[in-house]
């Protein structure tokens, strides 16, 4: 069985985001970039499936700027076997929309014929939570989103999902798309020898045109602004003072 894992290069989750003064977006020049944390969990899950003997090959894919090859090298250092980079933008500020990403991934799936795609449920930059579901729709495959437990079982997968009311378990026919949530696993760190080895693993470079996909955005960004900031509050000295303040504010 072959697994494809899409990974996205995003602003590091510890970096404080700054909106550009001209309102065109968020400043990403000279900012630390990392693999989207949900995608790390997806890579880890794919590698564990291979280590368990259920999967033969793990292919990492990234769609974006040329620098995303660093993100793919991270996936390779974690243990992915090879990588495909689809260079779809020149400017680091260009975000390829989930619909276009899903179309490119669908093209890759048709070439690679995997049985499984494991992706992060959401990228922490655009917070869309859409690519897995869209890819599933385009391929006419089943989908199991927000996974916290995955069990492959022949031509099906039993997946436990994190939902609003608690947990839901479903059984999906393979081939399928699984989007992963936070509690599925704890991703490993790449060791130095593996980082060195990753430099020699194959990394193919492609373009959206190779898959006949137009990445022109469907959504035009009109403006990007800072969220409303809260008024500074006060520090109270005791529980009694807290209760008094809450009563004054009509909160209790």
């Amino acid at each position: 069985m072959k697994v494809i894992v899409p990974v996205k290069r995003v602003i590091d989750y510890n970096v404080k985001v700054r909106v550009k003064a001209d309102g065109t977006g968020v400043d990403l020049a000279n900012v630390k970039m990392s693999m989207n944390p949900f995608d790390e969990i997806a890579v880890e899950e794919a590698i564990r499936l291979r280590e368990a003997g259920k999967v033969e090959e793990v292919v990492a894919v990234s769609i974006g700027v040329k620098q995303a090859q660093e993100t793919l090298r991270t996936a390779l250092a974690m243990g992915a076997d090879r990588a495909i980079l689809v260079v779809a933008a020149d400017d680091v500020h260009t975000d390829i929309e989930p619909l276009a990403v899903a179309k490119i991934l669908a093209g890759i799936v048709k070439e690679e014929n995997p049985d499984l795609v494991i992706c992060g449920k959401q990228a922490i930059d655009n917070d869309m939570n859409a690519t897995g579901q869209m890819l599933s729709a385009l391929l006419g495959w089943s989908q199991a989103t927000f996974a916290s437990e995955v069990n492959l079982d022949g031509d099906s997968a039993v997946v436990t999902r994190e939902v609003d009311g608690g947990l839901q378990t479903i059984k999906v026919k393979t081939p399928t798309i699984i989007s992963v949530d936070l509690r599925l696993n704890e991703p490993r760190y790449a060791s130095l020898p593996n980082i060195m080895k990753a430099k020699k693993k194959p990394l193919d470079e492609k373009t959206p045109a190779d898959y006949g996909v137009d990445v022109t955005p469907r959504l035009t960004v009109v403006s990007t602004s800072e969220p409303a900031t809260r008024q500074a509050g006060i520090i109270v000295g005791s529980v009694d003072e807290l209760i008094e303040k809450l009563k004054e504010a009509g909160a209790v």
Binding site: Q122, D127, L182, V239, L246
Partner: protein, 308 residues
């Protein structure tokens, strides 16, 4: 303009608060038709018909539509989509599962977690865990969106829309439901509660989370948790408040033993009054709190519970 709104229906019951908040957002876009789908959906449809601003309710009952599986529900919505300019749903986990699939089947971009409707094509939504607000204009023929319910007031009840029964589409039979593990609770639902008390890593254990629950029960509040508390096993996943958990905006939010990572702030900073109790005076949570108490939670929380 005509809007098709997917109601939140769980085991035959309508989630009135989430659906009514989405109706408020949708009513600004055109006449609202609500779709109630499920193995049983008639009672939910009758309830949805009472939400002010709803012009019509469609009721689709079929075994394949039970348990909110994405594939059959998306197929049903796509079969109806031709009559509508907008397809809308409250931003629940069910809708986040289904709606992007609908958008891709219609070859349009989804617009997730809308917090503001500027006009029929233009919407505001948070990005980067709410650290920026983006205004986007859609050029697609059909606008497909989910609504962040914390950003809208619920439409009132008192309407009397007509209810029409419709058939389901063929079941694509790609997925089957196995089980739901849903915690029973008498507490209010997290995303619609007027008061929320949340605990973080500082609470230290699953047993000590009882302190948070006691304070919540005293206040008639829902219980929330930070990601750190959920990851550590102190609290179940459906209590998580934050960028990738639930987004809440209650009248009062009490954060106990929560440091205030940006991912957590993303889920609660629109609350009307925020109280923070933390022994670390440098904790970022104090920067968004209206009232901060620098104290050991194991002393302050029982005292607060007793004196309230």
């Amino acid at each position: 303009m005509a809007v098709l709104l997917l109601a939140e229906v769980t085991d035959g019951a309508l989630a009135v608060d989430a659906t009514a908040k989405a109706v408020t957002a949708a009513a600004a876009l055109g006449d609202v038709t609500v779709l109630c789908a499920g193995a049983s959906a008639k009672a939910a449809a009758d309830e949805a018909a009472k939400i002010n601003g709803v012009a019509k309710v469609l009721c689709a009952e079929d075994a394949a539509l039970s348990h909110r599986l994405a594939e059959p529900t998306a197929a049903l919505i796509v079969s109806l989509a031709g009559d509508y300019s907008h397809i809308v749903a409250p931003g629940t986990t069910d809708a986040k599962n289904i709606i992007p699939r609908v958008a891709a089947l219609l070859d349009v971009m989804v617009i997730s977690e809308v917090t503001g409707v500027v006009d029929a094509d233009t919407f505001e939504r948070p990005i980067y865990a709410g650290n920026a607000i983006q205004t986007v204009k859609s050029g697609d023929a059909t606008k497909v969106l989910t609504i962040r319910t914390a950003g809208f007031d619920a439409a009132g009840m008192g309407g009397s829309a007509s209810v029409e029964t419709i058939g389901a589409t063929a079941d694509p039979a790609m997925s089957e439901w196995v089980e739901d593990k849903v915690a029973e609770s008498d507490r209010p639902e997290l995303t619609s509660a007027g008061v929320v008390v949340s605990g973080g890593r500082g609470v230290g254990s699953e047993e000590d989370f009882a302190l948070i629950e006691k304070l919540a029960d005293k206040l008639g509040a829902a219980v929330g948790a930070s990601r750190a508390a959920v990851d550590s096993g102190y609290a179940p996943n459906d209590w998580q408040v934050g960028q990738t958990g639930k987004v809440v905006a209650p009248d009062l939010y009490v954060a106990v033993g929560i440091s205030g990572a940006i991912q957590h702030l993303a889920g609660m900073k629109d609350s009307k009054i925020i109280v923070a109790i933390n022994k670390d005076e440098e904790a970022p949570i104090f920067q968004v709190a209206d009232f901060g108490l620098v104290a050991d939670l194991f002393e302050a929380v029982p005292e607060l519970t007793e004196k309230l």
